[in-house]
């Protein structure tokens, strides 16, 4: 991949990002942030390639990178799901009154 193609892809994706994100209503901004945050854990792809190389230095950096990126991905998607579960369902009829 050349630098020019990379920049092209980056700019086009950024435009898509702006278009999509501006349509998200304010009430969903927190799940949007934690969800997009989980997506930035895509760096896990790079971390895996580093960690799988087999030499010591790559192994150390790769372990840290895979661990951190996995926290980001797993935690990000899970916590977003937890929040959206509260938005989507009507638990009003269930208990949880009071508290």
């Amino acid at each position: 991949m050349t630098l020019a193609i990379g920049i092209t892809v980056f700019v086009l994706a950024a435009f898509i990002g702006f278009e999509v994100i501006t349509k998200v209503p304010p009430q969903l901004h927190t799940p949007l942030m934690s969800g997009s945050n989980a997506i930035s854990g895509i760096t896990l792809v790079g971390a895996l390639l580093v960690a799988g190389r087999g030499d010591l230095l790559s192994g150390i950096l790769g372990f840290l990178a895979v661990t951190f990126a996995t926290i980001n991905v797993v935690g990000g998607f899970l916590v977003t799901d937890r929040m959206l579960e509260m938005f989507g369902t009507r638990r009003r009829l269930s208990r949880r009154d009071g508290r």
């Binding site: 950024a14 934690s34 840290l64 938005f87």
Partner: protein
């Protein structure tokens, strides 16, 4: 798997991210959108595991186990009031991972191709500054570091010099492939992340969390240039754009520029502001006065602020509004964009307490309704309802969009004391004839009102 198949499957993953984000435009489809994003991520991970460059899986499995366990525990245990800290921490981890990927790539081959030479220092600096900045933000949100702006004399000059040194070591890395320049760059960027976040006041946290979100995306995108992965570039650009949009929205909601938020060291910590000077007599209400006013209203708009979140009063709010609805009162909530500690935070807290989201309206949707409303109940909010921001050009917060609660028939303000908000600005709302002040902790007040309303 062939190169082409790998690339196309990454494209599928990226498309799922975009479609998933699109589905976040409605609370009804949002959860499935998040699931689509997770499926896209799973595809990207599985495809990567089959790539030829990977010869050793032990480190990978270890990382998956440690990271997966930690991520699951954190996501399950966190209280909804703690979401901003958690997102800040996750941003930091993502940024650090991107920085490490770039550093490992540099140390392994020191290639001098242009896109690598330029983007390695960039993603290292962005990634490392993101993690240290995020952890300072985490500390401030968690109350481990004082929320007030912390800065020293000449800090702007110091930070500028630091930034220049980061740039210098980046250029040295790019031009000569010098390894010690990498370690220097990492150390300097780490320090810069700390010194740039410490001066930011607790009340500005919504902006800075959004900004760090954007940085973690940009770090991922530049790591994508380093390893030649379109998947990282696309996803990083999406997140970078998303973070910037939210940063802009939050800055606008405070009527400040991003530069002003980052450099002006504005305000206190939002929780222990200086005592007010006072601007005349106020009308003090008892719990019963307030309950009567609410119970006999036809329409009530609740305006929650961060004080409500701090005292975990969202359940009390929901109880009270349910009781009012039982009496036939029309109840709605007006949510200012900076009502919580991160964009949209107040909506999450109220959703947690099962307040129906149809009752939650944002500033643009509800502001015209205040003149037709009998009672506005302000709980733990101050600057976002200060009429001076609208009417008094000499006010420091003049121009900040506010909720026009003063135009409602009556206003009940639940507040601990008369102290001004984070901006340290007195609020003329408190001294108006139509305003009743109920001095109390938010939770005690709302629970008390919920008990009192049915007995009226």
């Amino acid at each position: 798997m062939s190169e082409a198949a790998t690339t196309l499957l990454y494209l599928v993953a990226a498309s799922l991210f975009i479609l998933g984000l699109k589905r976040l435009s409605s609370p009804v489809t949002a959860r499935s959108g998040n699931l689509m994003g997770a499926v896209g991520m799973l595809i990207a991970i599985v495809v990567t595991l089959f790539r030829s460059g990977i010869v050793d899986y032990t480190v990978i499995v270890a990382g998956f186990l440690v990271g997966g366990t930690a991520g699951t525990i954190l996501a399950r245990r966190v209280e909804m009031t703690g979401i901003p800290q958690l997102v800040a921490a996750f941003n930091g981890f993502g940024g650090a991972a991107s920085g490490m990927v770039a550093a490992a790539e540099f140390l392994a081959d020191g290639s001098s191709a242009t896109e690598i030479a330029v983007t390695v220092p960039l993603s290292c600096a962005l990634g490392i500054a993101t993690i240290t900045g995020s952890f300072v933000a985490f500390g401030k949100l968690q109350g481990m570091i004082p929320g007030r702006p912390l800065l020293f004399r000449g800090q702007i000059i110091f930070d500028s010099a630091l930034a220049a040194a980061v740039g210098g070591s980046g250029i040295r890395m790019a031009s000569s492939g010098n390894r010690s320049a990498l370690w220097l760059l990492i150390a300097l960027a780490a320090l810069l992340g700390v010194t740039r976040t410490l001066p930011i006041g607790g009340a500005d946290m919504p902006v800075i969390v959004a900004f760090l979100n954007s940085m973690s995306g940009l770090a991922a995108a530049s790591a994508g240039f380093v390893i030649g992965s379109e998947a990282l570039i696309i996803s990083g650009a999406l997140v970078g754009a998303s973070g910037l949009v939210l940063t802009a929205i939050m800055s606008r909601a405070m009527n400040r520029s991003l530069a002003n938020v980052l450099f002006a060291a504005f305000g206190g910590d939002g929780e222990s502001p200086p005592e007010g000077t006072g601007g005349g007599p106020v009308r003090r209400a008892t719990m019963d006065d307030a309950a009567v006013t609410l119970a006999y209203a036809r329409s009530v708009i609740v305006v929650p602020g961060y004080g409500l979140a701090v005292s975990q009063a969202q359940y009390g709010a929901r109880d009270l509004t349910d009781r009012l609805a039982d009496r036939g009162v029309e109840v709605r909530y007006a949510i200012h964009p900076v009502a919580g500690r991160m964009p949209g935070h107040m909506n999450v807290l109220l959703a947690e307490a099962d307040v129906p989201y149809e009752q939650l309206l944002d500033l643009d949707q509800i502001n015209d309704d205040f003149p037709r409303t009998d009672v506005a109940l302000v709980v733990g909010a101050n600057d976002v309802v200060n009429p001076a921001a609208r009417d008094d050009p000499s006010s420091p917060i003049f121009g900040m969009p506010i909720l026009d609660v003063d135009r409602a028939g009556a206003v009940i303000v639940v507040k601990r004391s008369l102290s001004p908000g984070f901006a340290g600005i007195d609020n003329p709302l408190f001294y108006r004839d139509t305003t009743l002040m109920l001095f109390s902790d938010a939770r005690a007040a709302l629970e008390g009102l919920a008990r009192a309303v049915p007995t009226v």
